[in-house]
């Protein structure tokens, strides 16, 4: 059916093979090898449209290989590889299988050349990923998973609706650059937006990611949102509204990240924020900005994974990721701490770390196009990111007040995964050219200029200064066991309350109606029985006289009628 072997099939084959391999190291090894093979295939694929075939009357293109899809395919394979090493110790067949399927679906989606195949993989990521949440096997995770799944599939059905409308209008299922216009493109846009966690559509993310298993969160953080970024970059590059959406996304999670107690949720908010940068880049839409988006996606997958891995390791050893319960772990988990700091430095865009060479592309891209306010906003967001992810996460986990916990260092596989990731973060930061070479457009950008380094360092160090000062002054909000209301309050509290109210209203009205109806029916039946039952008027044995009376009545009436 295809002239090239689609990489997603490798994952599916791997997922099918996995349960047959003895659980333990052999199986973990198989799982880790799969993304390597996939990366090789992706690397070797020539550019162009491949894997075209017809399914139920639809022309499908399974493989659209160009620079944009290739780099996403590669980074997804890389992320899967790292996450699977990190998850080497996991012995849960479902998690293992689903992790592979999830990565496979994401890679499949990236190479999808038409909306139908995109939709197929789009839903695939939703279904496969939810198992990583459910696998936590708690009541809370179950409910979170249901919410997550509904939102994710919801994104899929909105995409489907958009496709249907698109098809109805144009008769084409091609997935090309679109212009926001009619309901069709809006639906597709919103579908992408849900997975990209646009403001107010973002709640699934802080809801779900902290709920997943230790390893699950690492895997989750890599694919879904970056896939959405890819889809937006492919379909809506240069759509102006994205700039403002992105800017909003870059700011408001910052506040939540600062006051959030659960460190995995802090990281989720920061992930959301990083997506904001990418979305701005897509909105700006110039070659520079798009390069920035792709580069930032690449870098952010790695450092975000690294951060999630390190906090995951803490969770794995201590049973909690709450800032209020952690602290002082640097003594016993120094390597994890260092990797966390590397991740933190990367997300904060310290020079020589990966964030520095990618984020600046976006900032430059926006300022080149004259979006000065947006530029300012992003600058603020960068500083904010440093506060909550660069300082807060490592500080409260590893330093701060000694919690008294003395966990062992993370297991070897986690350390290995974190080590490789950390190495990559630094490598990209130090020597970005290989990544730049992979970007969709020619890169004429030098990240390391004096101005850039100095200004960036100023920004970061003064942010750190502000943190220190306010911390010392006791103004910085203390970490407390708490949850913070977010927009999901609307569907976790308000919605159910409304539904409950409406339902009780309806059910009482309905109950009253049914009750009245039943009484009516019963009364009717009783009346019927009185009239028609054994001794009823209409069924009793009548004396002859009465019968004759009836004859007389009928005769009389008929005669009367005839004489009228």
């Amino acid at each position: 059916m295809t002239d090239l072997f689609p990489p997603f099939l490798i994952f599916i084959a791997g997922a099918l093979l996995l349960p047959l391999v003895p659980n333990g190291h052999p199986r973990a090894l198989v799982a880790v090898i799969v993304p390597v093979i996939s990366a090789y295939f992706i690397w070797m694929m020539p550019e162009g449209m491949h894997g075209q075939f017809t399914l139920v009357g639809q022309e499908l293109t399974l493989l659209r290989v160009d620079k944009l899809s290739t780099i996403f395919g590669l980074v997804f394979s890389l992320a899967a590889f790292l996450a699977l090493i990190y998850a080497w110790h996991v012995r849960d067949t479902i998690q293992q299988t689903m992790a592979l399927l999830y990565a496979g679906a994401a890679i499949g989606a990236v190479f999808a050349g038409d909306l139908v195949s995109l939709f197929i993989f789009w839903e695939g990521t939703a279904i496969a990923s939810v198992f990583l949440i459910w696998a936590r096997r708690t009541e809370g995770a179950y409910w979170t998973g249901m919410r997550y799944l509904i939102v994710q599939v919801g994104s899929g059905v909105i995409l489907l609706a958009g496709m249907v409308l698109q098809y109805n209008e144009t008769g084409s299922m091609a997935f090309e650059a679109m212009t926001l216009g009619g309901p069709a493109t809006w639906a597709i846009f919103i579908a992408f937006g849900v997975k990209c966690a646009f403001p107010l559509l973002h709640n699934w993310m802080p809801d779900a990611y902290p709920a997943a298993t230790v390893t699950g969160t690492v895997i989750l953080s890599a694919f879904t949102t970056k896939l959405a970024v890819y889809a937006l970059a492919r379909g809506f590059a240069g759509t102006e509204i994205l700039i403002y959406i992105g800017a909003t996304m870059a700011i408001f999670p910052v506040f939540y990240a600062v006051i959030e107690n659960d460190l995995r949720r802090v990281l989720t908010y920061s992930l959301n924020q990083q997506l904001g940068f990418m979305v701005v880049g897509i909105g700006v839409g110039t070659e520079l900005a798009l390069n920035g988006t792709v580069a930032h996606a690449f870098a952010s997958i790695l450092y975000q994974a690294l951060l999630f891995m390190s906090i995951g390791a803490v969770l794995f050893r201590t049973g909690t990721a709450r800032a209020s319960e952690l602290g002082g772990l640097y003594k016993t988990m120094p390597l994890t701490m260092i990797f966390c700091l590397i991740g933190a430095a990367s997300i904060s865009s310290f020079p020589l770390f990966s964030g520095f060479v990618s984020k600046s592309l976006i900032l430059s891209g926006s300022v080149h196009e004259g979006h000065y306010i947006v530029w300012g906003v992003l600058l603020f967001a960068s500083a904010g990111a440093f506060i909550h992810s660069g300082i807060k996460v490592p500080f409260f986990a590893f330093f701060a007040q000694d919690s008294g916990m003395r966990p062992k260092e993370a297991p070897w596989n986690m350390l290995l995964a974190m080590g490789i990731t950390a190495f990559l973060c630094i490598a990209i930061g130090v020597y970005p050219d290989p990544i730049y070479a992979l970007l969709p457009y020619e890169v004429v950008y030098v990240p390391y200029t004096t101005t850039h380094v100095v200004t960036q360092l100023q920004l970061l160090f003064f942010s750190a200064l502000a943190f220190t000062v306010l911390m010392r002054a006791g103004i910085y909000p203390t970490e407390l066991k708490s949850v913070n209301l977010d927009f999901d309050w609307t569907y976790r509290k308000l919605g159910p309350a409304l539904i409950k109210g409406v339902r009780s209203l309806i059910s009482s009205v309905w109950g009253a109606l049914i009750g009245a109806g039943l009484r009516g029916v019963n009364f009717g039946i009783a009346a019927l029985e009185r009239a028609h039952g054994a001794d009823g008027l209409l069924a009793r044995a009548w004396p002859t006289g009465s019968m004759v009376l009836w004859i007389a009545v009928l005769l009389g009436a008929t005669l009367l009628l005839n004489y009228m």
């Binding site: 500083a383 909000p477 949850v483």
Partner: protein, 118 residues
């Protein structure tokens, strides 16, 4: 930072090598040193602004120490705002319970809680 709570003493020999090396952070005075270092670094960076030709797109960037001021003020504002926001947004951990992960412990069998004392 405050250490009202007495931290349990751990035998340093059981700590990993790197952990032992980092133990000097336990000392409050050393933390003070770090803060001084930070201050000096900050001052140095502002001073550096005067020593090279800034490549700027915006006039505002040309103000010496613009990024420093921007970073400091914005972060201070952010933290203050967040503090105010928390008053509005904070709820008990079991606000969404009993069907919420915030109010339940991570399942023990999926963890490998090992301490250095084991």
């Amino acid at each position: 930072m405050s250490s009202e709570m007495k931290t349990p003493e751990t035998d340093p020999s059981k700590l990993p090598w790197l952990g032992r090396k980092l133990l000097w952070l336990d000392n409050t005075r050393n933390v003070g040193h770090i803060i001084y270092a930070l201050l000096i670094l900050c001052a140095g960076l502002v001073a550096a602004d005067f020593m090279y030709h800034k490549h700027s797109y915006l006039d505002i960037e040309d103000i010496p120490g613009f990024y420093a001021a921007f970073g400091f003020l914005m972060c201070a504002a952010l933290i203050v705002c967040a503090r105010v926001l928390r008053v509005i947004l904070k709820r008990d951990e079991d606000y969404y319970s009993p069907k919420d992960i915030a109010s339940e412990a991570y399942p023990e069998e999926q963890l490998s809680r090992e301490t250095i004392n084991d």
